[in-house]
Symmetry: C2
């Protein structure tokens, strides 16, 4: 059984930070929750919703004082500046963790700023990227969702186990991997699909046509537009932080797309049908992955 957090400080009380606080509260695993953010309106809402007990808009150092867990859920690029401000105010037994979508460059930026005594457990919950704000937060957001933890050379086992235990209490499946591998995997299965979708939405919206194309978008396009509601700031930071892995993924995609275009141009019916048929196997692969997760859950 995981011990409760005495004082949880959530920096960035939006969908993810708010949901983490709610989930821990619901399980009786957060005795006190303090929120930090730029928008007072949002923090007032968070307090009214019972997500935080107190909040600070302009003094993160004061907010983290006496916290035994600091949870970063701001856009990735905002984190290092805040770490600078708070590092000397952190209690010696405090664990710092985060929910940033990219890991390697973030760790490089943050870890050197933290005192040696402070344990940093980098993390990434794979959940809910389409809505934002504390209003959208909910206690079960992470239930049966992946959380990837990417411990560094400095992360001690006890701190990793502590953070893992809290996420598992939220219902999440926790997986550990090296930061660079995380960035490769999510560059491919998350960042690339978002960029592919953004490019499509941009193409269709910019298409000058006598009829508004959008009106006929039932047949395929609509699936892509959900993604367009994601936070522009978050995706900008992801592109800047995971640049290398994203470029690699974009180039692989570009090659496949060019190959497909070539088959269309040359009227290669066989090749097209083969590619489309092969793609059907993805459904079986997804079912297989689901089965593996179910087994994993059974073992827990």
């Amino acid at each position: 059984v995981t011990a409760p957090v005495r004082r949880l400080c959530v920096i960035g009380v939006g969908l993810i930070g708010g949901s983490f606080a709610r989930a821990l509260r619901e399980k009786g695993l957060a005795q006190k929750v303090v929120g930090v953010g730029r928008s007072e309106a949002n923090l007032i809402k968070a307090k009214r919703l019972g997500v935080v007990d107190h909040y600070f808009t302009d003094d993160p150092a004061e907010a983290v004082r006496e916290a035994d867990l600091v949870f970063f859920s701001t856009p990735v690029r905002a984190m290092p500046e805040i770490v600078k401000t708070i590092s000397r105010a952190l209690a010696p037994d405090c664990i710092v963790t985060d929910a940033g979508s990219t890991k390697a460059s973030l760790i490089q930026a943050i870890e050197p700023l933290l005192p040696d005594s402070i344990q940093f457990v980098p993390g990434h919950p794979i959940a809910g990227k389409e809505k934002s704000g504390v209003r959208a937060s909910k206690a079960n957001l992470f239930n049966e969702r992946w959380v990837i933890l990417t411990p560094t050379a400095r992360t001690k086992k006890a701190a990793l186990a502590r953070v893992r235990g809290l996420w598992e209490a939220c219902g999440a499946w926790v997986e550990c991997m090296p930061p660079a591998e995380h960035d490769q995997v999510f560059g491919a299965v998350s960042h690339l699909p978002h960029l592919v979708a953004y490019a499509l939405v941009d193409t269709i919206m910019g298409w000058d046509s006598p009829r508004p194309l959008i009106g006929y978008s039932a047949g395929g396009f609509r699936d892509f537009t959900r993604i367009a509601a994601s936070s522009p700031e978050m995706w900008r930071d992801i592109c800047l932080e995971n640049r290398k892995a994203i470029l690699k993924a974009m180039d692989r995609y570009g090659q496949t797309f060019a190959h497909l275009r070539q088959m269309v141009e040359s009227g290669d019916g066989r090749g097209l049908e083969k590619l489309f048929s092969d793609a059907r196997a993805v459904k079986a692969q997804l079912r297989h992955a689901k089965r593996l997760r179910a087994e994993r859950k059974g073992l827990r």
Copy 2:
């Protein structure tokens, strides 16, 4: 009020053909339904489900005899051969219509094969491309869905009005446009998104990685996989038939994607954030289109 079809002949009794027959039957608008197909197992199912009264696997000419409406819902490329077989058996007052996803080249192939007395009303219902087979068919598939009709120079107003009336009885919104415009519009909003998604699924599935990437696909990729369940044969034909419009759309997309890649490579945070923010407007455009359709419905 639309008069019932005395004898409806559905060629290709799958999701679309089956749903059209069910919808007309439910409204009392099809007295007799005859099915034509290659798979007897499927046609037996169709008969058992009450979708057709009779079926023919190897004699389409016999099937269309005395039909006053022939509805083609086979893959596009299969249609001309069947038209050749049936054209002399068609009753003089018969209307031929279809549900093919591409129009201009199909019309070019089919119209010259039909006797002058036969009215051809080319159509395209924008509904249900992810499932297939008569088992998935349902009477309300076209309810509040677009059906595009693309009359030719030879199509008489009465025949067009007849087919429009039947689709409207199925609950569809009917819109007329020239065949070439149809192909441009759906090349952009339907065919391009499918190819973009197929290329993505192919890229991720072909990615050699120590961990199965598919297992972590919650964050973006999953939205694309629904498309991969579509009929490979249908999409092959669409690519072959709407080649020109699809290549144009792929090239526009390719330019946007290259621009996005360039911004990632050069670390252009401002440009990225602007593109991501602009994409959010698509949601408002979709809402606007929905409002227009609702008004249209009110007027009917």
